[in-house]
Structures are given as structure tokens and as C-alpha cells.
Symmetry: C2
Subunit: 283 residues, 2 copies
DNA sequence: TCAAAAGTGTTCTTAGTACACCCATGT
DNA sequence: ACATGGGTGTACTAAGAACACTTTTGA
């Protein structure tokens, strides 16, 4: 229960704060984990392409962690919400309208930026690779898409991000107590990744795996029309498991509708193209 | 994709920011929705008490929204994380160690505080009412426990908080699009509640209902030893539904262990006292 | 014809729903 | 004795797992 003296103290605190900048304030940023779903190339004329999940990172050309990779993001301005800031940054980085942008965490360790006090808000963006305007690699400090792998092994989590020869590793430990409702990662070891971005990416992957089971965000990683197998591959790639075809079709049947079209031109039976069905009860 | 000129612009932005306070920074707060589970009094010697979910609010004695009720909370300091700040505030308000404290949202509308730019982080705290050191009502500006009711009706959500004669109402609209992974409330009408705290409370209740189904936080609303019926009442009160006894017992059987003791002294068969079982797989 | 993928049907198992019933207690 | 809650069994139903099978295509 609050006591009189606490209230008085708070009053003073408020007044000092009101005539501003006596109390230190943090910079606030939005950092975005942009997930894109790509098709791998296949040589065999019969075989279909596989789906690959990638994350967009930018190489830093300055400041602390120079040369390391970091998530796209930037400062929140005083006339916008944090989501607005994330949307703005996303536009500046990728030049596309994104279907999905949602916050999943807040990162506020006062030492996470060695220079000053920065609180970061972690956002996840989802997009089908086809819709990305990628004029890649004209500059060493450019943005690159990294393949993602995130697995548990011997009570530790290994995060691997790779783009050709460039490989980023991070070992993470889950320090959540048995009462916690979500995992809390701590970085044990990492290379070439700036700030605590390995933790933000790990949280994003865990949240993506959770959301894909609870909601219909899988469609945000696909073009408007898709085959049932493509939809299943989204789930298999994100969750890193194999699913049984008949069970998957039954479960998803009510979420999609037939477009009437089929995907032709491969050395096997053509697949019906579906689209996401309207009017499905949310969540 | 990022262009050279963007990078240069960002450089300038960084330098300005580094020699500080050229760019405006927000104040950052942690606001806490403290849920407590109380026992209602029963007159009949046979009847058992019901569980009641309450939220702790503090009447403002100053500034904007004077006289309105607000969530306990305060500014984050530059030597602590936001969770630390929430823990500190929780200690100052309730003087108890709390079993559960977790962030569920961020509120960053630049106009949510009429005076200045304040970004708030919403936390949820859970406690068994028995463990609360409540020396109530010595001051009109004191903290009070409000009964909670939150229901959907005709495409709107009604939040009602009541403490004796004091009644707070709020009508909320869910403005989430069909792509969204969570509801997003907007305030249509409200009385006697400060800032956007009706939205923070609504989000907290929705998150509590979600977490109670996904995790084992129900135990955080109970004392160490409890009867199966008490556990079931936690679920029924939070979810605002009735559950079937045999089904509930089967589902929960592996989460609890028998203490050997029984709860006596009522006009009916005594109930076995259980405790939360160790070594249950998380989530 | 055949490899690859599309697509369906059937059985078995598990988890949840609904309800009927008996047990123990204090007044 | 009886009202009240504690506690168990059993039949029914819906959803998921596992697997076997047929269909269609281009080279």
C-alpha cells in the first residue's frame, strides 16, 4: 500500500520531470526481424523447389560493432507510435508494403548499447520473397538475406545465420525459471552480430513458431495463390519438422478455398491453387 | 534495400543523437496490472467461498486526470531494465515479493499523456490475496482493489471495475484487422480512469486468459496448498466459464501432488490439499 | 514406363464432453 | 436426514497419428 511520503516523493519527481531533462531519458528504437520465404533452386525437372526461411541483416559501417551485422531499425520519433516507426523503417529498408508487422518483445538492459541508454522494441515482419524488391550486393555495407537455423542441443540453443561464405553463430542459454511463461535467452557466445540482436532474433523465431500454430500468419509468407504443398512447406520450414500430408490437409481445409486454377509445367500431376478463405473466425 | 544516401543520413542522425538531447527522447514507464485472487465471504456454514479477481488501482491526487484511478507504476531509471523498474514499483506499492511479473504490451501513442511524450510498458503481476499486506483506506488517495468484469457484447467489450460505490466503466472496440495475431482495443467511452489505462487493463485480462490456458500461472494465484476445487475456481473466475469437474481433474492430475493433508471444518466431505508438482515440463 | 508429387480413405489412439453415480461431513 | 461439496466411472464424440493406396503428369 502506498504511504503518504511516497506520494509526496512522487510529486517532487513529477515536477522535476515536467520541467524536463533533469531526469535522464532513454533513446527508444524499433528493430525489425524481417522474415522472407524463398524458393530454393532444383536441378531435377521433376523435383519441386523447397522453401527457405531467411532474415534480412545489414552490415554496420560505423560505431560499435563495426563490420558486424545488425537488424534494420531506427529511432522512434516524438510524433509517431513505435509501430509507425517500425513501418517507416521497413519502408526505408525494403521499399515494399509488408503484410505483417507485429511487436514481440522489449529489450531494455541499460548496457545493451555500450555508448548510451537505448531501449529497443523487437518487431517481426513477414513477407513472401516474390514481393521483395531486392537489388542486392552493390555495396559491402549492404543488406543481405541470411539463411536461418535455430535448434536446441544439450540444454543450449544454437543460432546459425549464413549468407554464402558469411556465417554468424550464436550460442544461447534459456534462463527462464519454471514459473516463467516464455523462454528468456541469454547470449553465451556469438560472432559478427551487433548488440543483443542474436537474442532478438532468437525470440522472434520462437514467437514465429508459436504464432504459426495459433494464428493464420503462414499465409503472410506466401503469394496470394499457392498449392497445398507450399502451405505445408511453410509450416515444415518454420517448425523444422515433417508433417503428415492427410492430417495437414484436413486441418487446413477450412482455411483455404479453391481458385479453380492449377499449377502446371512439372513432371508430375498438377496441383490445385488455393487462396486464403475469407470470413474464417480469427484465432 | 538500403541506399548509400540513407546510410549517410543515418550517420548524421547518430552523431546528433550522440552529443545528446538534440533529438527528443521519451520518458519510459512501467505500469503494472496487479491481479489478486480474493475469497468472497459466505454466510451459510455449508457453502464454500467463491473466488474473486481484483485489480489494484490508485487514485490520482494531482496533474491530469486528478481524482481518476490509475495503474501503479513509475519511470524507468537509467541503471535498470524495465522489469527491474516494475519490480521496484511493485515493492513500493504492495510491500510483498510477487511470484509472477511479466510484460504483455507497449503503449506508445504520442498523445496518450497530454503533458508530454511517455511510452509505457504494461506488466501483469499475480498474487494470492492472502499474501498481500493491505492496510487499506487510511487516505482518500489510497490504493484500492477493484472487482473486475470484462465481457463482449454486440461487437463491443465492456470493462467494469468496482470497489463498493466507486464504479469505473469503459467501452472498448477491437480494431484488429483479420491479419492481426492479437486484439487491439480502442477506447470508445470511459469514466474515472486515467490515460489509456482502460486499454492496458483490457489487454492484461486478455493475456491472462490466454496464459492461463497455455501455462501454469494459475498456481501463482493460489497459496502453496489448495484444494482441487480452488484450482478449478481460479480457471472459472479468470475465464468466466463453468468447467466440468471430471474433465478438469483429469487434465490437471499430472500438474499437482497430494500433500496428505485435507481441508476440514465445513458441512461436507473434506477436500484433499494439493500442491504444484515439481518437474512438470514447461508450457 | 516411371519418378515425383497430388490427393483420398481407413484404422487406431487420444483428449475432451456429458452425465450418472457414490462418498463424507457438520448441524 | 439432508444439503453441500468431494470424488469416480463410463459411454460418446471430435481430432490427431499412422499408413496404405490411387491419380496425374512430362520426359
Amino acid at each position: 500500500m502506498k504511504k503518504r511520503v511516497d506520494t509526496i516523493k512522487e510529486n517532487e519527481e513529477f515536477v522535476k520531470n515536467y520541467d524536463d531533462s533533469k531526469y535522464k531519458k532513454p533513446s527508444v528504437t524499433a528493430d525489425i526481424v524481417i522474415f522472407g520465404m524463398f524458393d530454393s533452386e532444383e536441378n531435377n525437372y521433376r523435383k519441386l523447389s523447397q522453401k527457405e526461411l531467411k532474415v534480412l541483416l545489414i552490415q554496420r559501417d560505423q560505431g560499435p560493432f563495426e563490420g558486424c551485422y545488425a537488424l534494420p531499425g531506427g529511432f522512434v520519433r516524438s510524433n509517431e507510435t513505435i509501430v509507425d516507426a517500425a513501418k517507416r523503417e521497413l519502408g526505408e529498408e525494403t521499399h515494399v508494403q509488408c503484410d505483417f508487422l507485429e511487436q514481440f518483445g522489449t529489450y531494455s538492459d541499460p548496457k545493451r548499447d555500450p555508448r548510451r541508454w537505448v531501449i529497443s522494441n523487437g518487431f517481426m515482419a513477414l513477407m513472401d520473397a516474390g514481393s521483395i524488391n531486392l537489388q542486392a550486393g552493390d555495396d559491402a555495407s549492404d543488406a543481405k538475406w541470411f539463411d536461418v537455423s535455430f535448434e536446441e542441443a544439450e540444454n543450449e540453443w544454437k543460432l546459425q545465420l549464413s549468407h554464402g561464405e558469411e556465417k554468424i553463430f550464436a550460442r544461447l542459454k534459456n534462463i527462464a525459471s519454471r514459473w516463467d511463461v516464455k523462454q528468456k535467452f541469454e547470449s553465451v557466445e556469438s560472432n559478427d552480430i551487433a548488440f543483443d540482436h542474436q537474442i532478438i532474433i532468437a525470440d522472434a523465431i520462437m514467437q514465429l513458431r508459436k504464432w504459426i500454430n495459433e494464428t493464420h500468419i503462414a499465409f503472410r509468407l506466401l503469394p496470394e495463390k499457392f498449392t497445398f504443398r507450399e502451405l505445408q512447406q511453410i509450416y515444415e520450414t518454420v517448425l523444422d519438422t515433417e508433417l503428415l500430408v492427410p492430417a495437414f490437409r484436413r486441418k487446413m481445409a477450412f482455411l483455404v478455398e479453391d481458385t479453380g486454377e492449377v499449377s502446371g509445367d512439372a513432371g508430375h500431376r498438377p496441383a490445385v491453387l488455393y487462396r486464403e478463405r475469407d470470413g474464417v473466425d480469427e484465432i
